[in-house]
C-alpha cells in the first residue's frame, strides 16, 4: 500500500491519541496545569511550604514526595519480592506441566487445561473472601509468602499456557534425535529442550512480572502496611498507611501513576516480540 497524505495524517492522529494522555499525566504530576493561566492562580501548602499551583513551570515536588517521603523504593522492593516468589513457584509447577501438555497424551488433559483456563477467567472476588479468612487464621495476611501464593492465580495460567506455546515451537525431530541417541526423557529435557526454550522462559518471566506488578485487587485487600506493592500505592499513596478509598490529591495520583508506569513499560519493551503470545495465552505464534 502507498503512503498517502491521508494515511500519514491518520497515523499521526493515532500516535497523538496514544501520547496525549501519558504526557498530560506526567505534566499534571509535575504540576503543569494551564488552568490557573486563565482562571487565576491557585495555591496550596505542602507541609509548611507554600506551593504555587498550576502554571507552566514544572515543579517536581510531587515526584520528590512520592520517592523520598512516601517510600516508593519500598513499594518497588515489595512488588519485586512478591513477584519473585510467585513467578518462581509458577515456573516450578508450570514448566513440567507445559512440557507434558505438548509431548504426552494422558487422561484428564482436557479437564486440566480447562481448570488452568478457569484460574485465568476466575473473578478475583470469588476467591478473595476465602483467602481473606484463611490468611487471617494462618497469619499469612500482609506477608510476602501470602501475597506470592495468591498471585499464583494469575501467574500459573500465564506460565503454563505461554510455555506450552514455546515447547510446541520446538520441531519434533529434535526430540526424536535425542531419544534415538539413547538419552532418557529427563536428560533430553535438561540438556536439549530447556536450553532451547531459555528465551521463552525469560519472556514468560518478564510478562508474568508485568502482570503481577499491575494487579490491583489482591494487593488492595490482602496486603497491609508491611508488603504494600506498587499497584496499590498508585491509588492510596506509597506511604505505609492503610486507606481503602482515595486520599491523595490529583497531582500525587498522577505522579504515582507515572512512577508505576515507567518500570512496567521498560520491561514490556524488552519482550515486545512475545507480548501478543502472553495476552492471547499462547494462541498467537
Amino acid at each position: 500500500m502507498k503512503l498517502t497524505k491521508l494515511r500519514i495524517f491518520l497515523l499521526c492522529f493515532a500516535a497523538f491519541w496514544i501520547i496525549w494522555p501519558i504526557t498530560t499525566m506526567v505534566m499534571e504530576g509535575l504540576r503543569i496545569d494551564i488552568g490557573p493561566l486563565f482562571a487565576g492562580r491557585g495555591s496550596s501548602f505542602v507541609g509548611r511550604f507554600f506551593q504555587p499551583q498550576g502554571g507552566i513551570k514544572p515543579n517536581p515536588i510531587t515526584f520528590i514526595k512520592a520517592i523520598s517521603f512516601q517510600n516508593y523504593h519500598r513499594a518497588v522492593l515489595n512488588s519485586g519480592i512478591i513477584a519473585t516468589i510467585s513467578i518462581g513457584l509458577s515456573l516450578l509447577v508450570g514448566i513440567p506441566a507445559a512440557y507434558a501438555f505438548v509431548r504426552h497424551k494422558f487422561k484428564g488433559k482436557g479437564i486440566l487445561t480447562l481448570l488452568i483456563l478457569m484460574l485465568r477467567t476466575l473473578s478475583p472476588f470469588a476467591v478473595i473472601v476465602p483467602f481473606f479468612i484463611v490468611y487471617g487464621q494462618l497469619q499469612l495476611f500482609d506477608t510476602y509468602i501470602g501475597m506470592g501464593l495468591v498471585y499464583l492465580i494469575i501467574n500459573i495460567p500465564i506460565v503454563t499456557l505461554m510455555m506450552r506455546g514455546f515447547f510446541a515451537d520446538i520441531p519434533p525431530q529434535i526430540y526424536e534425535a535425542a531419544s534415538t541417541s539413547g538419552a532418557s526423557e529427563f536428560q533430553t529435557l535438561r540438556r536439549v529442550v530447556i536450553p532451547l526454550v531459555i528465551p521463552g522462559i525469560l519472556a514468560t518471566i518478564v510478562f508474568a512480572f508485568v502482570a503481577t506488578w499491575n494487579e490491583f485487587l489482591f494487593a488492595q485487600f490482602l496486603s497491609g502496611v508491611q508488603v504494600k506493592p506498587v499497584s496499590r500505592g498508585v491509588w492510596s499513596g506509597f506511604a505505609e498507611a492503610i486507606e481503602s478509598f482515595r486520599v491523595l490529591d490529583f497531582d500525587e495520583l498522577n505522579a504515582n501513576s507515572a512512577l508505576a508506569l515507567v518500570p512496567a513499560l521498560t520491561l514490556a519493551f524488552l519482550i515486545k516480540k512475545y507480548v501478543a503470545r502472553g495476552f492471547t495465552l499462547g494462541t498467537t505464534r
Binding site: 494522555p21 477467567t121 478475583p124
Partner: protein, 291 residues
C-alpha cells in the same frame, strides 16, 4: 503414560490449593450469614442467592456491566481493525509508529483509569474550552455519555492497540500472492479489504479466542469504573458506574463486611466465566494444535 502424571502432579496440587479449595470454601460461606454482625456464621441455605434476585443494586450492576462490556468489546474490535489496516504493509517510519502504539500495552488497569479520569485528560481540555476559547462550553463528567464514553475509551486505549497487534499477525500470515493477484486484476483497496482482509480476520480462531478473553475480563472489570467512583458518589451503592466488580469492591470495603453476600454474587457470576472458559478452549485448541 506414567511419567506424564509425574510432570503434571505439581500443577494439579497447585490448582487444587489456590483454585478449587477457595472456590469450595466460598460456596460454603455463601450458604451462611457471615458478616460483621454475625462473626460466627450460621447456616442459612440459599437465602443469600434468593436475595440477589430482589436486590436493585445487582440489577443496576448488571445493566452497567452490560453497557461497559458491549461498548468496550465492539469499540476495541473496530479500533483494532482500523489501526491494523492503517499499519499493514511496509512503509518508512513504520517502526516508529509500531513503538508508539506499543506504549499503552504495559499500562496497568488502575493507571488506565487514572489517565482517563476527569482530572487528567478532561481538565486541560475543559479549561481551554471554557476559559481559553471563551465558548462557555465544557465537557460535563456527570453526563452518562461522558462517563461511559470515557470509561470505554480508557479500556480501548490499552486493548485497541493489542487487537491491532493480533490482527497484524493474522494479516501477515495471508499469502502475499493474494494481494498481488488482487492488484493485477485491478481491485480497489476497499474491495481488497472486503474480500481478503476482513474475512481473514473474522474467521481467525485466534481473534475469536482473544475476544472471548476480552468478554470475560471486562465482565469482571472493576479498576476503571473504580477510579471513576470518586467522581460519582464514591462509597454509595448503586451509582451508575457500579459494575459487578465495583459493587463487590464497595461491599468489601463497607463496614457491614457482608462476606457471605459477596461470595454469593461472585459465585453466581462464576457460572458465566466457566462458559467463557469453555468457549475460549474451543477456539484455542485450533491454534494450539489440539489440547
Amino acid at each position: 503414560m506414567k511419567s506424564a502424571y509425574l510432570y503434571v502432579a505439581p500443577i494439579v496440587v497447585a490448582v487444587f490449593t489456590i483454585g478449587i479449595l477457595p472456590v469450595g470454601h466460598a460456596f460454603y460461606l455463601s450458604l451462611t450469614n457471615l458478616s460483621s454482625l454475625h462473626p460466627d456464621p450460621e447456616f442459612v441455605g440459599i437465602q443469600n442467592y434468593q436475595s440477589l434476585i430482589t436486590d436493585p443494586n445487582i440489577w443496576n450492576a448488571a445493566r452497567v456491566t452490560t453497557i461497559f462490556l458491549v461498548g468496550t468489546v465492539v469499540v476495541e474490535f473496530l479500533v483494532g481493525l482500523y489501526l491494523a489496516v492503517l499499519m499493514f504493509g511496509q512503509f518508512r517510519g513504520r517502526k516508529f509508529f509500531d513503538n508508539i502504539l506499543f506504549v499503552p500495552i504495559a499500562i496497568s488497569p488502575i493507571v488506565m483509569g487514572v489517565l482517563y479520569s476527569p482530572n487528567v485528560v478532561l481538565d486541560d481540555l475543559n479549561t481551554l474550552l471554557y476559559y481559553g476559547l471563551n465558548t462557555g462550553l465544557f465537557i460535563d463528567t456527570r453526563l452518562p455519555v461522558v462517563y461511559y464514553g470515557m470509561m470505554i475509551l480508557a479500556d480501548v486505549y490499552v486493548w485497541g492497540p493489542l487487537m491491532m497487534m493480533i490482527m497484524l499477525a493474522i494479516l501477515n500470515n495471508i499469502p502475499k500472492e493474494q494481494f498481488e493477484a488482487a492488484e493485477v486484476s485491478g481491485a480497489s483497496s476497499f474491495q481488497v479489504f472486503r474480500k481478503i482482509t476482513l474475512p481473514a480476520i473474522v474467521r481467525s480462531p485466534i481473534l475469536a479466542a482473544m475476544l472471548t478473553l476480552r468478554v470475560i475480563d471486562n465482565f469482571k472489570a472493576y479498576e476503571i469504573p473504580f477510579t471513576w467512583s470518586f467522581w460519582l458518589g464514591q462509597e454509595r451503592l448503586g451509582t451508575p458506574i457500579d459494575t459487578f466488580g465495583v459493587l463487590m469492591f464497595k461491599l468489601l470495603s463497607s463496614p457491614d463486611f457482608a462476606l457471605s453476600q459477596i461470595a454469593a454474587i461472585a459465585l453466581t457470576l462464576m457460572v458465566f466465566s466457566i462458559t467463557i472458559a469453555v468457549l475460549f478452549m474451543k477456539f484455542a485448541t485450533k491454534s494450539w494444535g489440539g489440547y
